[in-house]
């Protein structure tokens, strides 16, 4: 059985913040069109991993391969033009820019024209009305939508999302995840960091659980139970 080459292939990543090691030999692979949930307790290294994949953090050792090429040393703008985009933890919108300007800025290094403004507004009608408003004046849910829209403007093939449900009402989170399904249907590959295990397992095919910088569990969602995931999450029992 031949396996298609994974769209994203992370091998043996070691990441340090000064003297502090955040990731220890982390490896993971995501297939084209797949969706992987990245879970783990606070401080487990999920954000670090996503940032390293996006290029905002340089690993001390290890490799990041994307669409067949080694991008480990590539700066963020190069990765974006190849098709990786990150929706950062805490949204991190540009407060003094309008909604529309935030999205336009996201297209700075865009991979292609696949996501012009009209298409983005069609996907997120809730923010279309507020396009000329300063991003800092929007509600949490709207800001999260803008953050995702900003990443979409780069026309990514691989979309990384870091804790998009943080601080949002369940209804709003539900809407966001519906949008994610639509994106998947349109061919996007997703890596989703999510605290809500149920949502993560519902929305994704594969699951990777990090514990204190190491991979504690990596398996298709269908083949693990919630209890097994929780055990890996807290580090109980043997792998």
């Amino acid at each position: 059985m031949s396996e298609p080459e994974a769209l994203l292939d992370v091998t043996d990543l070691d990441v340090f913040y000064g003297d502090f090691q955040a990731l220890f030999g982390v490896s993971m692979a995501v297939a084209q069109g797949g969706a992987t949930a990245l879970v783990g307790a606070n401080g487990a290294g999920k954000t670090t991993l996503l940032r390293t994949i996006a290029g905002a953090q340089a690993p001390t050792s290890g490799m990041v391969r994307y669409a067949g090429s080694d991008v480990t040393a590539a700066p963020p703008h190069q990765r974006i033009s190849r098709g990786i985009a990150l929706v950062p933890e805490g949204r991190k919108l540009f407060g003094s820019l309008t909604v529309e300007e935030n999205i336009q800025v996201g297209a700075a290094a865009a991979a292609s024209d696949a996501w012009p403004l009209e298409r983005i507004y069609a996907t997120f009608p809730m923010i279309a009305r507020r396009r000329r408003q300063r991003a800092s004046t929007l509600s949490g849910g709207e800001q999260q939508a803008v953050a995702i829209a900003r990443a979409l403007a780069a026309a990514p093939s691989l979309l990384l999302l870091d804790e998009i449900s943080l601080g949002l009402a369940p209804l709003v989170v539900g809407e966001l995840y519906e949008t994610l399904s639509a994106l998947r249907a349109a061919g996007a590959t997703l890596v989703v960091v999510e605290q809500d295990l149920r949502r993560a397992m519902d929305a994704c095919d594969d699951l990777v659980c990090l514990l204190e910088g190491r991979v504690a569990l990596a398996a298709p969602v269908a083949s693990v139970s919630r209890d097994e995931v929780i055990a890996a999450y807290f580090g109980e029992g043997s792998p």
């Binding site: 807290f234 580090g235 109980e236 029992g237 043997s238 792998p239």
Partner: protein, 355 residues
């Protein structure tokens, strides 16, 4: 805890070996002893050698004093002031006024320091609202303002300046010797004072404030208090130095009293020597002294070199000469941090007090 028990794949931790944490070392004792001896020799200089040795030593000691004080501000507390000359000038003029009123000029040094600290109090209420580059320029503005006020004050001679009275009774030799001893006292007090201050909690707090004021405040450090204390101490010290300079030049006028050159020198010495160490400014003072003696004949080029070295040092060797040496060789003559000794290896390794 449950979690630790359950992580079967982890090796059991070995029993904890006791470590010794000390704040002093034999090297430090030896060095302090050597310093005491040096100071004793210093006191004897006017008797033994006299005139020719005093002048350069006065210059060197003044450098050591101002560098140490500036380091307290910028190296330890993160306050990059380029306006210390404001207080040097205040000290000089204060000395003049004190002497005018018949008080012994040498006693006036203390008065000058006090006046400078008092003046610094309301100023601090303004400038300490700022940080970083904005603080730096604000201090420049304050110094410039003081200079203007001096030029507009006929009672202290305006633009022309005034001669310092009250020293006619002293012979030249005696006056020089007294000035020298006074400078020695100021220099030793500055270094000792800053050292003792920094070794206390103040030192740790100050460095926390210097590197991350928000984090420091969140940890309960009284950020405002720390910065104020550093600022006032530095101002008082600068005032004393200003008085000393007035005693030497016997004349006080605005342009030289408030000259920005003082700040250039302070910056250079602390950068080259090493910020946030006690030894650094002393090393820097020696370097500047050597440079000045050899290069001052070249006028403006000397300053180009000084400025250039400051730039290069910041970019290439931000920890300065002493910082490099202490990292390379583990030297610590006047430790301010915590030394952690591991009994196994028998050697001390500097704990996390580097900045």
């Amino acid at each position: 805890m449950r979690r630790e028990e359950a992580i079967g794949s982890r090796d059991a931790e070995p029993s904890v070996t006791p470590v010794a944490v000390s704040r002093w070392s034999r090297t430090a004792s030896a060095f302090t002893g050597a310093c005491v001896v040096a100071v004793a020799i210093g006191v004897a200089v006017p008797y033994v050698i006299g005139g020719p040795a005093e002048q350069p030593l006065i210059t060197l000691l003044t450098f050591i004093a101002v560098a140490t004080l500036w380091n307290l501000l910028a190296g330890f507390s993160g306050l990059t002031s380029f306006g210390q000359q404001a207080y040097i000038g205040v000290g000089a003029y204060a000395l003049y006024l004190v002497a005018e009123h018949g008080i012994n000029p040498f006693g006036g040094i203390i008065a000058a320091a006090a006046v400078a600290a008092v003046v610094a109090l309301p100023v601090s209420a303004l400038v300490l609202r700022l940080t970083g580059g904005y603080f730096a320029v604000a201090t420049l503005v304050v110094a410039a303002t003081f200079q203007i006020i001096a030029t507009l004050s006929p009672s202290v001679g305006g633009t022309t300046g005034v001669a310092v009275p009250g020293l006619a009774g002293y012979s030249d030799v005696l006056r020089e010797a007294l000035t020298y001893w006074a400078t020695l006292v100021v220099a030793v007090s500055s270094v000792a004072g800053v050292y003792l201050l920094v070794r206390r909690t103040f030192g740790l707090d100050a460095r926390a404030v210097g590197s991350d004021p928000v984090g420091a405040a969140a940890s309960g450090v009284r950020v405002g208090r720390i910065r104020l204390l550093a600022y006032l101490v530095a101002a008082g010290g600068a005032g004393a130095v200003g008085a000393l300079i007035a005693l030497q030049t016997l004349y006080v006028e605005p342009t030289s009293a408030f000259s920005i050159q003082y700040s250039v020198d302070m910056l250079f010495m602390v950068l080259i020597g090493g910020m946030a160490t006690i030894e650094g400014p002393i090393v820097g003072a020696l370097v500047l002294f050597a440079l000045q003696e050899t290069l001052s004949a070249y006028g403006a080029w000397y300053l180009v070199i000084v400025g250039g070295l400051a730039v290069v040092t910041t970019l290439v060797a931000p920890r300065g000469l002493w910082g490099l040496a202490s990292e390379r060789f583990g030297w610590s003559l006047l430790p301010v941090g915590y030394l952690v000794r591991q009994p196994r290896t028998g050697t001390g390794r500097r704990g996390h007090d580097r900045e």
